[in-house]
Symmetry: C2
Subunit: 495 residues, 2 copies
Amino acid sequence: MSKVNELKERLFDVNALNAATAVLDWDHQCYMPDGGNAARAEHGSRLSRMAHEMFVSEETQRTLSEAAKEANGDSEEAAFVRVVQRQMAISTKLPAEFVARKVKRSTEAHEIWVKARKENNFAHFAPALAEMMDLAREEAEYLGYIDHPYDALTDQYEEGATKKSWEAMFDSVRQPLVDLVREINESPNQPDNSFLTGKWEQEDQRKFTEMLVQAIGFDFERGRQDIAAHPFCTNFSVGDVRLTTRYEDYLGSAIFGSLHEAGHGMYEQGSPMEWDRTALAGGVSLGVHESQSRLWENIVGRSRPFWQHFLPQLQGTFPALSNVNLDHFYRGINKVEPTFIRVEADEVTYNLHIMVRFELECALVSGELKVADLPEAWNEKYNSYLGITPTSDSVGCLQDVHWSAALIGYFPTYSKGNLLSYQIWNALQKDIPNTDELMAKGHFKPILDWLIDKIYRHGSRYQPEVLMEMATGERMNPEHYLKGIRAKYAGVYSL
Amino acid sequence: MSKVNELKERLFDVNALNAATAVLDWDHQCYMPDGGNAARAEHGSRLSRMAHEMFVSEETQRTLSEAAKEANGDSEEAAFVRVVQRQMAISTKLPAEFVARKVKRSTEAHEIWVKARKENNFAHFAPALAEMMDLAREEAEYLGYIDHPYDALTDQYEEGATKKSWEAMFDSVRQPLVDLVREINESPNQPDNSFLTGKWEQEDQRKFTEMLVQAIGFDFERGRQDIAAHPFCTNFSVGDVRLTTRYEDYLGSAIFGSLHEAGHGMYEQGSPMEWDRTALAGGVSLGVHESQSRLWENIVGRSRPFWQHFLPQLQGTFPALSNVNLDHFYRGINKVEPTFIRVEADEVTYNLHIMVRFELECALVSGELKVADLPEAWNEKYNSYLGITPTSDSVGCLQDVHWSAALIGYFPTYSKGNLLSYQIWNALQKDIPNTDELMAKGHFKPILDWLIDKIYRHGSRYQPEVLMEMATGERMNPEHYLKGIRAKYAGVYSL
């Protein structure tokens, strides 16, 4: 057996443990009764520890070194070895005891956060949040960094990213976005989206969203959709991808939530089957992943031609919408409005929500901001970027799951995804100029096929920036996003 | 740390792997899309191998020996050590290579069986079945036995059971059952159960069965119910017990299937929380487990007072049943009829189905019966015990999953469960003479509390026969069952 294959075989065991952990998480969020909490936390943390120990074992490290000598050039094997080496460099720096403790503490913090948010009680969550920040600092010390502990944390989610690189990204869009939001707010042509709020049958929402994501190309032979309080996408293999969505009074939650998760899901389903259970399968980074969820949710799913095709079906399922014409509908689903909740934000204000979080988590990690002062700092930033002040912590600094789950340095990847989505769409339109026509006919296959060819089928083989250059001819360039939303919202608001 | 605690700590990792495997199986049967099959089989077999390796590792064995010296008398610790020793004695006798091969081959055999049953093609399954029997013989040789290879196999499912002990059990009920079935068949007072077949809304079936199992005491804070093609009960911890049921044209499938699985489920939920994730938690043997599923399904769930309470609610949910009166309903759900399919059998003929399987699997294991001759032998036994001849192998010797899953020696535990259920109920009635009155009021707590006190809270602490003596004052005694069904069916059929 070649050393690369020996490495693969060893890592198949690690993959089995990680896939099992993912199934436990999915079940936890979709089905598990409350009584399962304590044991599930134990099981999850033990499996994570075992996977970590097995991954960083001397035997695996030795096999990896040997495989590295064997794999050369830009072969598939070499890419596989490079991805594993990167994971190994991170993992060997983290003590097994720390990994298990992080899983355990964050699972507990999550439960505390759920209660705190429900009861709008920041003080209840504060000690757990402080502990999460301690863990983040401890983790950064293990991982090492040059400029800022945040660099060590965020690099795990987006290879090569640093506090500085994120700042540069946000600097390039901050003012144009704040200006655009002001212009939009001052426009006399405000769309109405009240028609999207009502009492919609859960079963109708399920059927419609499943029809929708299947129509754009999500394969239900190799995946399914369930309900979760906080929608997410996970997968246990290339052939088993799980979407989640939620059914609320605001019909957009289900529709755009499903399209968003399906974007993630189709990216995962697009990996070559022969890479299944290896480090090469699956999306290359959180930023590129988010570019796909946002592309399908916003650029495709909030376009006029998309609804030219689907509005009649939507009205068939929900007769209360019969009197909403296409223009009214299109403008309604693209209403820009500064609101408190990130996950409900439109695509113009969305990045402002992320900036708030990015700036605050940098300050929390460095200790410049004390946990006790978070609610005030949060509200101030909302006031300054979005012109609104949250009416409670539940719709303020308690709204997101991330910090309670020890995910620090994760938020900026959402913004990167937004920016990349327009860049990728522009490149796609050079090869497929008639996207509007195709979408209006409900013909999404050429679009999906282009994305599979340029992005999905490459899995994690190329580094994110390399992949973007291959797919779009350039590294991340925020201009595409700024021009794209400028053009779109000039239309929606007659600017 | 004491050696017993050190042993517990080591086994918590094994427990995490086994719990994860159980979640993977549950998801496989309830939700997984077909595309997940290949990777799920890999993940499951790798986790099983890891659990086995960790369990039989030198370190675990050494810790177990040391713990055995420490734990003494009839303490909880000593019981824990005894249960682990028994598992260890079995596991260390089986080579890891054999365990992996058995999992792999039986997974393949299962797929072949699914196809063979669907296509009524015994010849397609025969080579796989022959291989399962070879594996069974090989396993028996590893495990060791005095009289018959079957002894080694069946002991794994029911501690202390042997071919001879099962024969003695069946000898004591065979003739009385055959006679009772004949008498019942000849009775002019045949009940009608046609009212249970119709088109019933799935959602109504879900609501009604969930109400029912909650009413008898299944705790939905620590469990849930899902749909599976072949209903089962599994659990991932004492606080997380999963029932499954199915919704069919025959309403009894859902109702009695749910009650049956809830019996298993309440037994699991009744283990002390402080034993969670240890070898002491959970039902002590398959036979005792089945006694609980059958007690709740048949003795409680097919009793007249039970339906005196629930029939009005059933009629409220399913108005098509409005005209069925209590007597008609009670007799209908207790109709005795020799049929081909074990899982649909009534409680009188059920044990005859098991005898057929027991006798045939003993002969297959010993080689007295050749696989090629199984269909004929099967049909002959059905004719002799039940007076009917299967019209095809799909409803004959291909109907059960067990042999394809390498579960040889498992069937007799079902009969033991049936027999014990009446024995336990008789003991319960000595302490609670007014069970009929309680059930007619929908008051199941005293019944459940008695079962928790006498059986459930003891988990696996005592050997099955010891537990039965403690709970009922005697070892297994088939007379209770024979008297019980005689009395019940004399009433139903006016014998």
